[in-house]
Symmetry: C2
Subunit: 342 residues, 2 copies
């Protein structure tokens, strides 16, 4: 009896926030590997804010997912059949198999994982794309110096939690922004940030100013929205703003929002404070990945780099979990357990 | 009979565009140099857009001029009396003596000029702060590569003309934006830009796109305003935007203009195209000045770096000339001839 594949397809493009109707669960026979191919069983699927961009037809740094195609995504998978000389049955790999149970691969863009070195799910989080985004963006663009103040939002999330902890490792002060008392307590008590502010507080901007008495030298921008308005007046001369995400805007309509137009005042500050605003995608810094894997594993072993995973069971629950992610309802790196990982 | 000094004071802070009423001509006896001091006679006064910022009380990278004080400004001056061992009567220096005929100096922040090497007025333009702004901003932040497209507005002006010509020296394509047929002809025919577009043309944005068939890799931002809206959609991935001025906004009211709010769409492009927006003031790069003086003089001698001066006679005409500068009515580096330069 052939293996049954389950796949989650993009059913339609969302207008504003995605809904369950934008996704469709499809069931089919699992594919058979041809010569040179592997059959992969997905164990873990990563859910990340960037996927919202792939659901839209708008031009971005990557091509959109076509309507009717499998949703894209990073995955940890087990080789269950191999007709490829480089891989054996039972190997665990990082792959980009998307939102499905089984997938073929010709071996390109796979990375073998060592289950003895770290839980393999970390290859989707702290030891994967989000952790590397934090590492490369903070150290290459943000370049915090000892004693400087680094601010990051979504501080309990996959990227933000690593940004703040790496900032502290470099000797900078880490100030986190998170939503709700539970996340704030985690950022302060478990991750060891120097300060944390709840963006839901009515006096959020005032609180942020209070915990940044020397201003802000690096703002790692991964959310956009109202946080920006509170951060911007606090930026110091020569502050650096690595921009890796704008989750608050991912569901915006494509037309421009009503005013006031904030651009002129932002540009005036860019000029008068000699600010640097720099968008980036982690793969631009791919040559730093080997050093990141080595360094981050060491920091984890030393207890300096902690992480939290938010694991949802069952591929069929991925759409609802993704919708919640865009609303900030996850707590830690959001991962879907797809296959039998025991 | 003592020398009579003339000074132009800031009479009041402008609201919006400066008017003649914001300035006051004051006459007094020229000061006498004490031991260790020099008396300078100003020959040339530089008028530059940044001075609009100094007229406002708003926080910026430099302290404002106080109401009732002499307007600040870079000057070329002759030493007419010296009680300082380092300077002799007749020396020509670059100083920051402001909008006045005579000024004292204790010798700090002076630079001796060699009238045989270049016309001394060039120390206020192509061989001075505007030329160095172009050089440092373009080469250090813009970093054009051969074949890339560099766009600069106010291309017949002191900064813009140098930006485009230095871009061409590095092997990049230079596209200028200027106002009116006379300035456009100068940029194309005299300065040798690869293309020029008149921002007054009704189809300016379409014309700009037509002369940038491969997009824009470096936008040297020295004007702001409507030019930005035409440039922004044409930026290539990894484009760099050095920001040294926003003349179109200098007269804006301090409150935010009505919408639409362009900031979210700009930030989306920053992210999706990995753009770099970087404000700067040339003095940040002061350690590059010796190399600039050497290199720019060589380029001028070789005919690769041309310049145009717009000289207004008489200190009393400085306020009107400055008001016109902010309206783009100058043609070339605006300089006031204050003293007898013959």
């Amino acid at each position: 009896m052939p293996l049954k594949n389950q796949r989650i397809l993009l059913a339609s493009r969302p207008i504003g926030s995605p809904t369950l109707e934008n996704f469709r669960l499809d069931t089919d026979d699992a594919p058979e590997p041809a010569a040179g191919q592997l059959l992969l069983e997905v164990l873990y699927l990563s859910l990340d804010p960037y996927m919202r961009g792939r659901m839209s037809a708008a031009k971005s740094y990557a091509a959109p997912v076509e309507v009717g195609s499998v949703m894209e995504g990073g995955t940890v998978a087990r080789v269950i059949a191999s007709r490829h000389p480089g891989y054996a049955e039972g190997d665990i790999v990082l792959s980009h198999s998307g939102w499905q149970r089984f997938a073929l691969s010709d071996g390109t863009n796979l990375r073998k994982l060592d289950p003895a070195a770290a839980p393999v799910s970390t290859a989707l989080g702290v030891l994967g794309m989000p952790g590397f985004t934090a590492y490369a963006g903070l150290l290459t663009i943000g370049r915090p110096r000892p004693g400087e103040t680094v601010v990051v939002a979504a501080a309990s999330g996959a990227v933000g939690s690593a940004v703040g902890q790496i900032a502290r490792i470099t000797g900078a002060r880490a100030v986190g922004i998170a939503g709700g008392p539970e996340k704030c307590a985690f950022v302060r008590d478990e991750l060891g940030f120097d300060a944390v502010v709840d963006h839901r507080a009515p006096d959020f901007a005032r609180q942020l100013a209070a915990v940044c008495p020397d201003g802000i030298d690096v703002y790692f921008e991964n959310v956009g929205g109202a946080v920006w308005d509170a951060v911007f007046p606090l930026l110091n001369p020569f502050a650096r703003i690595p921009v890796c995400g704008l989750i608050a805007h991912y569901n915006d309509a494509p037309d421009q929002p009503t005013g006031p137009d904030r651009l002129p005042s932002v540009m005036r500050d860019v000029l008068s404070k000699s600010l640097t605003i720099r968008g980036f995608i982690q793969r631009e810094f791919a040559d730093q990945r080997p050093e990141f894997y080595r360094q981050a594993a060491e920091w984890i072993a030393e207890g300096k780099l902690r992480y939290k995973e938010d694991i949802v069971d069952g591929l069929e629950n991925a759409p609802a979990a993704f919708i919640d992610l865009l609303r900030g309802r996850n707590f830690g790196k959001l991962i879907v357990r797809v296959g039998h990982t025991g």
